[in-house]
Symmetry: C2
Subunit: 596 residues, 2 copies
């Protein structure tokens, strides 16, 4: 079984040393979020994740959720329900929710650290409380007063959970094709009819009620995505006065058998004239959908991060224990029958790749969390706008890169174990299977790439990109004469310049041929992720060298940064070449001529 | 469920057009291997793979093998036994085995095509007959006459199967640590005692007997790998006269629960004073082990190839069917509700990556198969030596690259399916799980890399590398003025020169610091694989343009080559940078300082 120990030292380094969260939280008006309180929250979250959730990870994988065809009920794996009760009792469901609705109102940046721990400990379990967050956001921003009154408190308290009902059998990415219908009832509610698939936590036994946020079409709506509306459809009917009524016409039709996250219920949900209420304006459902989706995308990025970290921890422990072969430069532990495999350069290559992607990814994603706090709470309007632009820009990068790296790091971990990584007993193969969903749901990496290049760069004219470049420039200027980071500053500056140059080239080509957007998008996203990580590694070294961390911790940051710049950042060479190669090599072959 | 159709058109292109197998087989003395016969073998193998094996692939995954603790018996999934009987009846087990032992004596190159089909159709099933091949090779090259007499015929006929019993709980790569003991009996046989793990096809219900090739230590043997001997240990005792006797003291202790290849029995095998016979000289068992291992490594490379191809076929079919979003350059199928996703550049990027790696990998690996035939059968001694050197050089590249690409292509296939790729129903997630073993067993990719750089380049002074460079140079010279391949020749020549340069740099650095070998090995191997594939793509275009293939086939080769040179070959930039970065960024950090 794989182990998990929350990486509190690095989490604190990122939050407090790197991001200066202690003073930043105060400046943003989070009066309660003192260093002391945040430390206590992190400690307690670590304890809960390590002691309650982590031991259920293998159980969830082995048992999976079970579906009762006769009743439509879903039973979660042994222990999931008890763990959820403890989670609710601990007040965790409302950690970052507004105090107005019963939440604790802590900063998102703290919530990100908590989410990383949950996902690392037990991704499948984490999916049950996860979607409540998106549903909450949708209702906060788009719901009517009575809807907020009735639905938000139980969601925030965790007495109910939420879902996002978007996908249908014939449409996932292309929601414009969706067919679920909403017919007005006499009482102002709607009768929702249709089939939704891939509904995470769509049915379960953890809570009394489930609040579905459902995209559907009104009778007179225009075709395509401009004719989609958002509805709130509870599993048990809820009156406008909050009274709980009889079961709604909502039923789970089946659950999927999946590669991983067996403990997470992925449901077909059938709505058969179910009573629902319109959320927001008619035909403006896509706006509510994006509110839910953006929150979910960052959350999925954190899933990739959490799994990467757990995979790394286990591979590292194994590499220190497993004795196999002698170091090429002579025995390092002559008293043992062989050296631990961490002496071998190729094993170190895999471990350092994980360390670089995990710790760099943590800095990048927590920073995004903090920027959400800035965007919502800064007293300075220009700063709020800047932060919002940056969050928009960085969200697809965090989502796609941290999940692609999740696939990669779990791959390396299995590889470090050799054949022992392939058997269930050691638990790392489960991490690899679980990680595999993260580049798919809430928009594949390809969709994130189109969001980044087509929307955030082209449509929004790179507003967030400019903020990011400004951060890079500021770091380079601040440390122009700092000998401890000099070796990183020059290549970072060179890459930032090339990033700008590539962006201009792509924008220019796209103005003549829209296929260039799709042709460049994936490589542009990955290129962006690697340059962003170079920034975070340079900044991490600068901050750690100037701080009071232990020598070992500083060495870890410094050497991993050197490794990153020497061996990971050069991936940009390949991505830049691919971006510049243009669309012709992709688009010329006729669809009928792909066969071997 | 995923589909499989043997890619006979491309297989024939590679064998006959690209490699000129028809005349080459005759020149090498394979009198029976006429074009007509080979065509018939390919057709029949395709039929068997598509109709008998492929439908059992999902069954094998779902049911897995079952183990009876009380008896030590292993039961294979439904249909496996009947399929194996048909396989034996069809004479497939002896396809490439010598006629001297009842085989059909066909060329290895033909056997490679047959193996690719089996592995693509049903990897788990394919592991049962697979290991007989290594056992046969070991006995042919190292066994005594009576051992060949007694064991080879049943193995070649498929009445018995073979295994390779190398790994023990505390040693896989480092066989020098193994503890299994062999005590001499009075009758010249040995009593073998010890526990072997990860024994593929170690126990099953397909055949009456199983022939274990076991590494063990004689009582007076020196420590380490110089004290290891090879033994043949049948499940049912076999006398020197071929008489079958009572059960031997060989028992399956358990089978592993694995990420994939559930239908393949991965066994713990306990030897408890089991009767065995020495194969070859005492303490020279590693030589017999390498005979088995080299055959197995190429075979595992073919597993990666087969899975990549099947994944590609299914992703391609899905991409042509699945309607989602409009092309960025305007609707391509305005009469449909959306365009098929194959219109999208990013989907094409994934598909073309698979096509480039599969078809290039097929050329590279079948060529290796043909070189085995040349090494064994050429009338020209110098040519035999050259071919043998080349096989030695290319084996770790075929093994590691084709399996890494197997992981990659199955990844892309899942990604093309989106969320539908993650659910068991569509079958591509099984391919991804099955592929994951191939970079691990018979030596991880890291071990292949050390074999390539440490042994084939440094110890053997790059004999095979020189042959490969000669092939590249010959192609470039031949086509210096060929406008149809001009665009590929220049970059190929540039990469070949850089390959030589990098090799010299690494050899030079390694002479001062042995850690440089391990630090460069993985990236050097992958770099080599990508340049080798560039060679095969350039040659494929040259041959296809000059031949009589259909326009569509020629377009497929030409456009995929363009794609390969534009978007895959630039991966060498990253690998070259990593190779040149040296060992310092890997080796400086203290093993205790890796923690976050």
């Amino acid at each position: 079984m794989s182990q998990y120990k929350a990486p509190l030292r690095d989490m604190r380094f990122v939050l407090f040393d790197l991001l200066g969260a202690e003073s930043e939280f105060q400046r943003l008006g989070f009066a309660d979020a003192s260093r002391e309180l945040v430390d206590a929250v992190l400690d307690e979250s670590a304890r809960f994740s390590e002691e309650v959730l982590a031991p259920l990870n293998e159980v969830g994988d082995r048992e999976g959720c079970t579906f009762d065809q006769a009743t439509g009920d879903v039973t979660t794996p042994t222990g999931f329900k008890e763990a959820y009760s403890q989670y609710v009792d601990g007040g965790w469901t409302g950690l970052v929710a507004s105090t107005e609705f019963g939440g604790q109102g802590l900063p998102q940046a703290v919530g990100f650290a908590q989410k990383e721990m949950i996902d690392a400990a037990n991704l499948a379990w984490g999916n049950f409380p996860l979607l409540s967050h998106g549903a909450t956001e949708a209702l906060v921003h788009h719901g009517e007063d009575w809807q907020r009154e009735v639905f938000l408190k139980p969601l925030v308290e965790g007495r109910w959970t939420g879902t996002m009902c978007l996908t249908e059998p014939h449409c996932g990415t292309d929601l414009g094709l969706l067919k679920t219908r909403a017919e007005p009832n006499d009482d102002g509610s709607y009768a929702i009819t249709g089939t939704k698939i891939f509904i995470t936590a769509g049915e379960h036994d953890l809570t009394e009620n489930i609040v579905h946020l459902v995209l559907a079409r009104l009778p007179d709506s225009p075709a395509g995505s401009k004719g989609i509306s958002l509805f709130v459809v509870p599993k048990l009917r809820v009156g406008r006065d909050g009274s709980m009524g009889e079961p709604n016409q909502v039923r789970c039709g089946s659950i999927e058998h999946k590669m991983g996250i067996h403990g997470s219920a992925t449901c077909v949900i059938n709505f058969d004239g179910a009573q629902g209420y319109l959320v927001g304006q008619p035909n403006k459902g896509m706006s509510g959908m994006f509110t839910m989706m953006n929150a979910a995308r960052l959350a999925v990025g954190l899933q990739g991060l959490g799994l990467s970290d757990r995979a790394y921890q286990n591979a590292l422990a194994y590499a220190r224990e497993r004795l196999q072969m002698r170091s090429l430069s002579g025995p390092k532990f002559p008293d043992k029958p062989a050296d631990p495999i961490i002496v071998h350069p190729d094993v170190r290559r895999m471990l350092l790749t994980c360390k670089a992607l995990v710790e760099g990814g943590r800095a990048m994603s927590y920073h995004a969390g903090l920027q959400i706090d800035v965007a919502h709470n800064s007293p300075d309007e220009a700063q709020r706008k800047q932060a919002d632009d940056l969050v928009g820009f960085i969200t697809p990068i965090v989502k796609a890169c941290l999940t692609e790296w999740g696939v990669e790091c779990t791959y390396h971990a299995v590889q470090c174990y050799g054949g022992h990584g392939y058997i269930a007993e050691n638990g790392v193969e489960q991490l690899a299977r679980d990680a595999r969903i993260t580049t798919l749901y809430e928009g594949t990496s390809g969709i994130q790439a189109i969001d980044l290049l087509g929307r955030k760069i082209l449509q929004l004219q790179g507003a967030g990109f400019k903020v990011m470049l400004g951060m890079v420039q500021q770091l380079c200027t601040e440390h122009a004469d700092n000998p401890e980071v000099a070796e990183f500053i020059a290549p970072l500056q060179k890459h930032a310049a090339q990033w700008q140059q590539l962006t201009m080239e792509v924008v220019d080509k796209a103005s003549r041929d829209p296929e260039e957007i799709g042709a460049a998008a994936y490589d542009y996203l990955m290129y962006s992720g690697y340059v962003a990580l170079a920034y975070w590694w340079a900044r991490s070294v600068a901050v750690s060298e100037a701080g009071s961390s232990s020598d070992g911790f500083k060495a870890g940051k410094r050497e991993t940064a050197k490794f990153y710049f020497a061996r990971i950042l050069p991936r940009t060479l390949t991505h830049a070449a691919a971006i510049r190669s243009g669309s012709a090599s992709l688009m010329t072959l006729d669809a009928e001529q792909f066969d071997a």
